[in-house]
Symmetry: C2
Subunit: 191 residues, 2 copies
DNA sequence: TCGACTGTGAGTCAAGTTGTCTCATAGACT
DNA sequence: AGTCTATGAGACAACTTGACTCACAGTCGA
């Protein structure tokens, strides 16, 4: 009866998503086709069509399965926490698969509404968490922000993202410090 | 005799590049195929194969034809010039086609060496010009940079790029000021 | 103006891909 | 044990891809 609750259905979905993710990471989004996903997942081609009739929707959903543990649960002092989280972000962006997801999202969002929705979700979570942390830091008197917390979030993440995806240069500690200093005036000593 | 100097050859090349650029901008890189380019350019399919046997090379070359007038010829005071140039960059990134080129470059570079080479070229020009301008500003005592000029370039461009491609939020003047302030201590008053 | 050269468009072709449909099977609930 | 239903295998037409051929016309030297 219940189509969605059938274990077989669930198993197939998982296998398809896993295969799509692997193909995306290893060979890029162009490699994510119904045929290749089916082959990699070891299931019938028709089954992939049954689950996701369109590849772009599958691709968008496959990317959504990548976990996003960043900027969660801030701790005081915010400056130290921020440095640690931005370092973690930089390390993540050094990984090929994370870069693949981020850039595919940014690009696909321009033409595919499903992809754009994922992008918005992704960016929203990052901005919101970071902005909340900065707001609480400002409330506690730890920092005097030069702009809104939303803008500050982009000032912190932007340089690291640009370094990783466009310049492809390593992100070191000084670079992260400079990004943090750009947000406003911190009350504690800079180091 | 001379194949390359034949006006017919040149005309076809231009038509192909123009069609490829249009398709990329309007429908994304997936739409840039030999068949569609030929149709849009109003030429034979075989001709496209003769000029560019592989689509990815055509795509990479098509993107290289987009002009890059940014950060050229800095003028004193550098801060004002920088504000104007970053504003121009932000306006450019609001255009769909520029975003298309930038994100396609960032993404394609992960799997396609030809694309990666274009990315490096693109990023290199931006960084170099900006770094030179900042160095001369530092030499003139207009600014005391917090990091290397290369890093400062990423600190200036990164937030704007991130805002436009990932967050998709408007870039206002305050945002640009904050980005400029992040580079170091400016001797002239902030506004 | 003529003639040789060569890039081009149209067309053909085999090989592969795409999306859809059918059917027997086996796994899942009652 | 019996009923349902997601699945794999396969067949299928429509389309795409890359390679090739050939008549033609734009280009350039004489």
């Amino acid at each position: 009866m219940a189509t969605e609750s059938d274990p077989r259905f669930h198993r197939s979905s998982e296998a398809i998503l896993a295969a799509a993710r692997e193909l995306l990471i290893e060979q890029g989004p162009a490699a994510v086709t119904h045929a290749q996903v089916a082959k990699r997942a070891g299931i019938g081609r028709a089954t992939v069509y049954r689950h996701w009739p369109r590849v772009d929707q599958l691709l968008a959903e496959a990317m959504a399965t990548v976990p996003m543990p960043l900027f969660d649960a801030p701790t005081a002092p915010i400056r130290d926490w921020l440095h640690a989280e931005l370092t973690a972000l930089a390390r993540l962006l050094e990984l090929h698969d994370v870069r693949a997801v981020a850039t595919t999202l940014a690009q696909g969002a321009l033409w595919d509404p499903a992809m754009d929705s994922r992008r918005g979700q992704f960016a929203g979570v990052l901005s919101e968490r970071l902005a909340d942390a900065l707001d609480s830091a400002a409330a506690a008197g730890e920092v005097e922000l030069r702009t809104t917390a939303q803008s500050a979030a982009a000032l912190a993440i932007g340089p690291i993202y640009y370094r990783s995806t466009i310049e492809r240069e390593p992100v070191d500690s000084d670079f992260i410090d400079a990004a943090i200093d750009s947000l406003g005036v911190w009350s504690a000593p800079s180091r």
